[in-house]
């Protein structure tokens, strides 16, 4: 009973913290913002992302002198899917510019990502709510240039950065001591999964159709072995392997660089306080929940965590 009350109070005070801070407060004192000109070739933009060890960047259209949305791994997934259905269009894909990505979305019939944005001085709580509604995992912070009244992308906030900010600044996270299995925040039903031998193109379809950022790989007994993530697609394209899409997902995972930290797992007995501890200490983007024999039970994403903190209890 004590733990339940403590958790409820802790969540409320973390919520109050998120309402008392602005997105601007999350920004480091000094930071870089990498922006890509929309006339850049898609394959060149891939080099820029990989070179800078980032997976997304805002786009800037010099013709209108405005920002033109965000480049994310979903764009590269769209290009792979387009190419897979139009293998004769290699030339077009090779010469594709960033301002051509909209046509690719239309050609394969996917919804353009609804990138909500927010002013940096609005409460952090509002940015989280806006991000959740737009089912995107990142939100551009937009202000106006005082002379030209043109938009400025001040930065892009991600769920990861916000949770890290909470984990680093809210002592109350230590009082979140209820097991996550009791909180009804784990996604258990219809978690799309695949086998090590599944063709990587099928896994990419699962990522796209489910609008998820990772697909667990299980063996014939349902034991979790690995995970294919949306960001792995960048390495696939970089290697030019996307014209050999018959590769199995196991073979495609060989592209992963050696500094990949590995897949985080937990069980339903783990507490949010330990989950937040891990977020504080490492670059973890999701937790796969397994039972004691390692069988996949479900997944706890940063969206699930954020939703619980904002609206749970």
């Amino acid at each position: 009973e004590k733990i339940i009350v403590e958790q409820k109070l802790a969540v409320e005070s973390i919520r109050a913290f998120l309402k008392s801070k602005t997105s601007y407060d999350v920004l480091p004192v000094s930071y870089r913002l990498i922006v890509l000109d929309t006339s850049l070739l898609v394959k060149k933009s891939l080099n820029v992302l990989l070179q800078n060890n980032i997976v997304s960047a805002p786009l800037w259209d010099a013709k209108t002198s405005r920002f033109a949305g965000l480049l994310t791994s979903s764009d590269f997934i769209n290009v792979i899917q387009y190419y897979f259905s139009n293998p004769d269009k290699f030339e077009l894909v090779d010469k594709l510019q960033l301002d051509g990505l909209k046509d690719i979305e239309r050609a394969i019939g996917v919804e353009p990502p609804d990138t909500a944005s927010i002013h940096p001085s609005r409460p952090l709580y509002e940015a989280c709510i806006r991000m959740m509604d737009s089912t995107s995992r990142r939100i551009p912070l937009i202000d106006q240039d005082e002379d030209t009244h043109r938009e400025i992308v001040v930065s892009v906030l991600t769920q990861y950065r916000i949770l890290k900010f909470v984990a680093l600044n809210c002592r109350e996270t230590h009082f979140l001591r209820r097991p996550i299995g009791e909180l009804n925040i784990i996604t258990k039903n219809n978690v799309a999964s695949c086998r090590m031998t599944t063709p990587v193109i099928d896994v990419i379809q699962l990522l796209s159709q489910g609008n998820v950022a990772s697909i667990p790989i299980v063996d014939h007994e349902g034991t979790l072995i690995n995970v294919y993530e949306a960001v792995d697609v960048l390495g696939l394209i970089k290697g030019g392997i996307y014209n050999d899409l018959s590769l199995s997902v196991g073979e495609a995972l060989m592209r992963r660089s050696d500094d990949f930290e590995g897949v985080y797992t937990c069980t339903e007995r783990d507490k949010l306080s330990t989950i937040m501890d891990n977020i504080r200490k490492s670059r973890v983007h999701r937790f796969f929940v397994t039972d004691d024999s390692g069988k996949l039970v479900g997944v706890l994403t940063l969206s699930d965590l954020l939703k619980y903190i904002l609206l749970g209890e």
Binding site: Y31, D37, S39, L40, V154
Partner: protein
């Protein structure tokens, strides 16, 4: 203006700008 050497026919320029009390290095990659 800060510039970096041209790689893969791509230009990279940057400016450090103050935004309120923080500093943003705004970096632009454009095709040569």
């Amino acid at each position: 203006l800060a510039t970096s050497s041209i790689k893969h026919n791509t230009l990279c320029v940057a400016s450090i700008v103050r935004y309120k009390r923080k500093y943003v290095t705004q970096i632009l990659y454009a095709p040569l």
